[in-house]
């Protein structure tokens, strides 16, 4: 019998399936993995240390860049922690807008995950389909904040501005025929909410498309079923959250268990897996997209009925409008103080968590009463998931590592921070 020697292999950091900059040192025996040692930190930017050197509001933009495929959910965790320390609650309309954008973000994230996961495992078409729908949601981000990805839209005390009355449309160009333009702008004739309404109408059919391509696909199932099985007890011990935990059959969702914003008023269901393998986690995330779509619909209906302020009217925290500044001395002073020094947050500590698409995204803030955080700790969901890579990958084949990276929904912005 041939002697099989064990050897070490480098996977990444320059590997298309490494989702960014993961360096995995794999100890292999033939094609079986004995030990997987992820080397992370290649994208470490010391976000938490940078936040210590800036007034509170200036770090919101950094949060977008943590998990850069679920931007607004990260902002949400950070903003909630500040609000907790300040003891303020944003207006109802702002809470609904935040909830709606959290769910839009969840769809954005899951689309990115599905596309990338499919591509890793060898399904090219899903990637293209997913990006088609992502484009519409990116436009929603852009319409509301001016940026397609890094929105900096949530602020302590509400959201930066109200939803636009008019959805931006495509301009005529020599690369686009009139017929194409008419088609592209068909859903963009009304407000942002009209556009979203239209999106929610057609999105379930899109999810059906993805499922047609994957759910009963023989290759897809061969690659996912029975791979990376984690028992519910072990998932809890390892600190799993989000779809990784629910895929193992633990019904735990912060939106339901520790509701923030307006989740306790909304009607949605929490999908749970049974086997705890990659395929179950896939099914959980697919169902989450459908549920998110339902939540967005409910938010749209509420937002249509209830106009109102989207920011608190407390100029010690929230800057006054430009108009007020023009003829009010006090507003001028508030503006000057807020933008040169920021606001001081009372001394204390707070932990605020949101159910981000990847799991529990938490921000632990320590304030010593200054205008900058004393310590900010970002609890990124992907961090604990990747830490369990060794355990999940041992005994599997090399090709399964790719499926595992996919199922963990790894994004290095949040893991390396």
């Amino acid at each position: 019998m041939a002697d099989i020697r064990s050897y070490t292999m480098n996977f990444g950091p320059q590997h298309p399936a490494a989702h960014g900059v993961l360096r995995l040192v794999l100890e292999m025996e033939g094609e079986t993995i004995r030990r997987a040692d992820p080397h992370i930190g290649l994208l470490h930017r010391a976000t938490e240390k940078l936040a210590e050197s800036k007034p509170y509001n200036q770090s919101i933009g950094y949060m977008d860049r943590l998990d850069y495929v679920s931007m607004m959910c990260n902002e949400h965790g950070y903003v909630l922690a500040i609000e907790k320390l300040l003891g303020i609650t944003p207006p109802r309309r702002a809470q609904y807008i935040r909830t709606m954008f959290d769910e839009i973000t969840r769809i954005l994230n899951h689309l990115m995950w599905l596309g990338a996961h499919g591509l890793d495992v060898g399904a090219m078409t899903v990637f293209l389909y997913c990006f088609r729908e992502r484009e519409d949601l990116m436009d929603v981000y852009e319409a509301v904040s001016g940026a397609r990805m890094h929105a900096t839209y949530y602020r302590p005390g509400g959201v930066y501005r109200d939803l636009p009355e008019r959805m931006p449309q495509y301009d005529a160009s020599r690369f686009r025929s009139d017929r194409d333009m008419k088609h592209l702008n068909a859903a963009r004739q009304g407000s942002l909410l009209d556009f979203l309404d239209d999106f929610c109408e057609r999105f379930p059919a899109c999810v059906d498309d993805y499922e047609t391509l994957l759910t009963d696909n023989r290759i897809w199932k061969q690659r996912l079923v029975g791979i990376g099985v984690v028992s519910p007890e072990r998932a809890l011990e390892l600190g799993f959250t989000g779809p990784m935990l629910r895929g193992s059959g633990v019904e735990w969702d912060l939106r339901r268990k520790q509701p923030y914003e307006v989740y306790d008023e909304l009607d949605f269901r929490i999908p749970v897996g049974t086997n705890g393998d990659c395929y179950d986690r896939y099914l959980v995330r697919i169902e989450e997209m459908r549920q998110s779509c339902e939540i967005v619909k409910q938010c749209i209906a509420w937002l249509r009925r209830n106009p109102g302020p989207v920011m608190l009217d407390d100029h010690k925290i929230v800057p006054p409008s430009r108009e007020e500044m023009k003829d009010d001395m006090e507003s001028m002073i508030h503006h000057f103080k807020l933008f040169t020094e920021g606001y001081s947050v009372p001394a204390g500590e707070a932990y605020a968590a949101v159910e981000a698409p990847k799991g529990e995204f938490g921000c632990y803030l320590i304030s010593d009463g200054a205008n900058k955080p004393y310590r900010l700790k970002v609890r990124a969901p992907g961090f604990t998931h990747l830490a369990a890579m060794d355990e999940m990958a041992s005994g599997h084949m090399l090709a399964d590592v790719v499926a595992l990276i996919g199922t963990q929904d790894i994004v290095f912005g949040e893991i390396d921070r």
Binding site: I40, G41, H44, A46, E48, K49, L50, E52, S53, K54, P55, Q58, K84, L85, G87, R234, L236, E237, L238, G239, F240, T241, V250, W252, K257, Q258, K316, T340, E341, G342, Y343, S344, P346, A347, G348, E349, A350, Y351, A353, E360, G362, Y364, I366, D368, G369, A370, N371, K372, Y374, R375, K377, R379, F383, T384, L386, A387, A388, D416, R417
Partner: protein, 245 residues
């Protein structure tokens, strides 16, 4: 929720007695402080015993309290040119300027400088708890590792070791996690400069990447100001306006 938290606080006091150095409830969050010596014992009980059942360790982080409460705009006199523009020279609030921009080494050994903060979550009872442990020696901060209690703490402890230099006794694989291979120092300590100590570039003559001392100068755009805002003023210690500026 309110009563549940008070009940938990009561259970904690009852069960652990002197082991709990302090237990507070702020902003609807419970925080207890423990000694490193009893950490493992208490944590195991927190995981296993019925009134607690903290199955998950959500987060562990290191904290450096060396510069707590220090501002850098402590000026009360106005000259005819107005108030001075913040403090000159080095301060911890300027994120610890050591190295070529002056040395501010921390020499006091208070035993209250480094802390490990644990965030626990009970899925069964749906409650959270924050546990803080201060390291007894600032120069060689040691905390026992809870890796046998929660397996998921592995990387969190490696991260705290990397960034703050906390030694987790009993951790099987305490390597650096986030910083570069061969990195020197613990970057999140308050006496580590924000701009770092070394910069990296490709040297064409040598044909390899070289490390050099940083060439940029540190700057502070917005000074750090600690204010007692009257709206949040503590009822016990009434403050007359802001303390400066």
């Amino acid at each position: 929720m309110t009563d549940a938290l008070d009940g938990l606080l009561e259970h904690l006091r009852e069960r652990f007695g002197d082991h709990v150095l302090s237990a507070r409830r702020d902003l609807d969050e419970l925080t207890i402080e423990l000694r490193p010596a009893e950490l493992i014992e208490v944590m195991t009980a927190l995981r296993d015993e019925q009134p607690f059942r903290f199955e998950q360790l959500i987060d562990l982080c290191g904290v450096d309290y060396a510069a707590y409460g220090e501002g850098e705009w402590i000026t009360e006199q106005a000259s005819n040119a107005g108030f001075s523009r913040g403090v000159k020279g080095n301060s911890f609030a300027r994120l610890g300027l050591t190295g070529i921009y002056g040395v501010d080494t921390i020499e006091t050994n208070t035993g209250r400088r480094f802390a490990a903060v644990y965030h626990l979550l009970s899925v069964t009872h749906n409650h959270r708890l924050r546990v803080r442990v201060f390291c007894e020696d600032d120069n060689f901060p040691v905390v026992p590792s809870v890796i046998d209690v929660w397996a998921g703490v592995n990387w969190f402890e490696r991260e705290a070791f990397d960034l703050y230099g906390l030694i987790f006794e009993g951790h099987p694989d305490l390597r650096r996690l986030l910083t570069d291979y061969g990195f020197i120092g613990h970057p999140f300590r308050k006496d580590f400069p924000l701009i770092g100590n070394v910069e990296v570039r490709y040297n064409e003559e040598k044909g390899r990447v070289v490390y050099e001392p940083v060439s940029i100068e540190p700057r502070v755009l917005v000074p750090r100001v600690v204010r007692q805002d009257s709206r949040y003023a503590d009822a016990d210690q009434p403050q007359e306006g802001a303390d400066n500026g």
